[in-house]
Amino acid sequence: MKLSTEILILGGGATGLGAGWDAALRGFKTLVLEKGDLAHGTSGRYHGLLHSGGRYVIRDPQSASECAHENALLRKIMPSAIEDTGGYFAATPADPADYADQFAAACKTCHVPANEIPVTQALKREPLLNPNLSRVFEVQDAACDSFDALHLLAGAVKSAGGEVFLRHRVTEILKSGDRVVGVAGEALKTGEPFTIYADLILNCSGAWAGKVAEMAGCSVKVTPGKGVMIAMNSRLVNTVINRLKPPSDGDILVPVGTVSVIGTTDTAVPDPDKYAIEDWEVDLLMEEGEQLVPGFKEHRALRAWAGVRPLYDPGGADSRLMSRAHALLDHETRDGVPGLLSMVGGKFTTFRHMAQLLVDAACAKLNVERKCVTADTLIEPPGAKLHTLPNRLAALERPLDDPTTRPPDPVICECELVTRSQIESSLRESGSPILNDLRRDLRLGMGPCQAGFCAYRAAGIIREYFNDHSTTGPPDPLTNFQLLQFLQERWKGERPVMWGHSLRSLELDLHIYHNILGVQNLPTEREMEVYPTEKTS
């Protein structure tokens, strides 16, 4: 495959899709390349917090103001990916007493709205919180579902006239002299090589940005900072809770969908594709959770996962001290390599702003003047709804008075209320037989049973969908492999939290898959792994 475009974006996370959306809206012929599925990178594994800015007021005031600004803006332009939970900064007995006043003053300077409220009022709204809190500030935090947000963004790129190619991995950057003119790579689905020429290339590959820049001969130091999070099996709180202390491990609890997520940690790792979750990280998060919600450790931990922060390192230093702010790198002035811009660092919350800066710079490079309109453009299609169980339930409810006209649409994943027809339409849209993609699209297997029941059911649907109900012919190693791989991927996230109820649940899952279904005896071909999964959870 050979193509050419005006603006080519490498990386389909929030930054890359945001840039694709912005560029397409400004009338550029735009293409976004992503080596994995949507939400495959850090954007699909972040903490889920649309920052109020409060977290950064003291150490990184610029980020704080940007977050506050973007937070207010995103609520308007993509409301159906955002749940307005509100947020608290709460001082537990373990937190430094003098931090509260500094915090309040810094919020003012950074224009981050924060109101001190009586502790009793906070405890009334969040009764599980530590009753010994000393001070509480209310802020404008919200929860933002990354799967929903990225699916909306990809849709927005397309409806603005741009294109998104998933599972297209860039392996080479093509140059003519010093100038970057295109990329070459492989379409992982078909194994077909591709070459794409572009007037300008925007490197939005997050924690991989260093690797990508290196393909163009430029040295960009991005230190992947691993952060671990644990999803607890219920919404212990309905408000985002931040510890009122300098940023550190396990200081934020975010209600997301049906769960609440405690996070995070921060450890520099050498390679964004290779990292493991350690027991000590899990222990630490559980202990910190205990400070916020007494009895936290008695609640069921559902799974743990990690993401890698794209921390831009202009030189040296410990990665937590590295700025979480973004940096726009013009490789023409920086390295003498025209045709390539990189956006590194940043946050999910500020993706739109980063995209705007990047496309503004692109306009300047291409010598055109086109105004950014993303701040005033609705991202979502009409009728889009936040994925909450009530909304899913409402969609399921049909008039029950006339059962004969009711089309049977079985609920395949009972925890997240995913139906057969939703699975079929996702398969139709993506053409991908990968259960993990269905998970990211529909949240299949994300609930309390962690795919114990739905993996078999969904694998059967995939089998029927792609094989057109043919019952003869050779065994189906691809579907078998998908099933086994999905179970294995879920297991990676569950294993770090294997105690208590999770251990019980594991025995049940093994009962089902090993004993009742005997899947360990199914024919699969490991070579069928045409779509590599490079992530640990």
Binding site: T472, R490, H514, L517
Partner: protein
């Protein structure tokens, strides 16, 4: 009321121990917090996937089969078969050879005893068969199973046939139990025969369907449909709740109660050991009652059913008496990186002596009147071995023998 025997746990081993005791004229009480493994299992009796290696297991005292002894397994299987046959639900098979039965994913599973409703599915038989696709029933996918099964029966061609289930619930998704209640009714089966007859004219005579053939009258249902339609039906176990497992539960409970046994399900049971004597307290929502008995059998199962718990801090506990359980204190050492195992935790459990008495660190019994049986016992990876029910029955048998 003073009981001769108190059994904690109402899974296969607890119920079976209860039946054996009642059949030997003992006054027994079963106390359990909830239902056991029957409701999530396959309803078959797995002894060992590789039956030929049974001798090896039975000679080592590290393994529950070794502790129970070979005669116990043999006698247990015989007595279970008698109980089930008397209830009109014969189990077939013996220790000479396993059945090779198809699973709902199209794999093969080895089992020693299987109910009459399942044995026509034996893959060693040469006749072709077809699998029933029940529209809208989520827990069995005939199309998925059939392609995987084809290579295990290469001498003939397999197929799928769509068979509707009239009157299945439409306001919600049907579970296996919903459909089983329909099949229990003779008048319903008459209707079904009329609907299915024209669909079956060209189908192979051997037909596999999910395990839904009735809870109380399964064998009757199978024989009725088989003879009216000139076919041979066989059931394939599906996702929980397990209809064939519930049948076993009902049969054992009924047999136990019919012989004067008493069963209380609901209270949380906690135990105490003083002066080498075990007593228990049952707590039903705050109403506590103490029980003493000449003999106590602990049959609370493994992790799934709460006999064992693994704690955040790295301890594994036996949940009623807090009996010692040897296990590594690092959680990462409990499980394998591979989901399907084998997992180290599978062998964790309560250590017992040849009398099936739980022993302390000194190797001596912790209480003179306490025995442990079933999936709670250390030393066997039941999943990898395919030995769960065999161990439950054999150790329960041995415990009663030792009374």
């Amino acid at each position: 009321m003073v009981y001769d025997l108190l059994i904690i746990g109402a899974g296969l081993s607890g119920l079976f121990a209860g039946c054996l005791a009642a059949r030997r004229g003992k006054q027994a009480l079963i106390l359990a917090r909830g239902l056991g493994g029957t409701h999530v299992g396959t309803g078959t009796i797995d002894v060992l996937s590789e039956l030929t290696s049974l001798d090896k297991r039975q000679t080592t005292l590290d393994h529950p089969y070794g502790l129970a002894g070979s005669h116990a397994l043999l006698a247990a299987l015989d007595e279970l078969k008698t109980i089930c046959a008397e209830a009109g639900y014969p189990l077939h098979g013996d220790l000479n050879a396993n059945f090779r039965l198809p699973t709902a994913a199209g794999a093969t599973r080895q089992t020693c005893l299987a109910p009459e409703t399942m044995i026509a599915g034996d893959l060693s038989r040469p006749q072709p068969f077809t699998l029933a696709d029940l529209p809208g029933f989520r827990d069995f996918n005939a199309n998925f199973a059939i392609v995987n099964l084809q290579p295990s029966v290469n001498s003939y061609q397999l197929s799928v046939i769509g068979l509707p289930i009239p009157h299945a619930p439409t306001h919600r998704d049907a579970y296996a139990t919903d459909l089983a209640h329909l099949f229990d009714r003779a008048d319903y089966r008459e209707q079904l025969i009329e609907v299915w007859r024209p669909l079956l004219t060209h189908a192979p005579k051997r037909i596999g369907l999910p395990a839904i053939l009735g809870l109380d009258h399964a064998v009757e249902a199978k024989r009725h449909l088989d003879s009216a339609l000139g076919i041979e039906l066989f059931e394939i176990p599906v996702l929980p709740p397990s209809v064939p497992g519930m049948r076993l539960f009902d049969i054992l409970r009924n047999d136990f109660q019919a012989r004067g046994g008493r069963i209380i399900i609901g209270p949380t049971v906690s135990g105490r050991i003083e002066n080498k004597r075990a007593t228990v307290t049952a707590d039903a929502n705050g109403r506590k009652r103490e029980y003493e008995a000449e003999a106590i059998i602990l049959a609370t199962g493994g992790f799934l059913h709460g006999g064992l718990t693994g704690e955040f801090g790295g301890a594994i506990r036996e949940s009623v008496f807090n009996l010692p359980v040897a296990a590594p204190s690092t959680r990462a050492d409990w499980t394998s990186e591979v989901f399907l195992g084998p997992h180290p935790f599978a062998k964790f459990g309560v250590q017992v002596n040849k009398q099936l008495q739980p022993i302390g660190k000194d190797g001596k019994p912790v209480a003179s009147n306490l025995r442990a049986v079933g999936s709670l016992l250390a030393g066997a990876d039941r999943l990898s071995e395919g030995s769960r029910q065999g161990i439950e029955l054999a150790t329960a048998y041995r415990a009663i023998e030792l009374l």
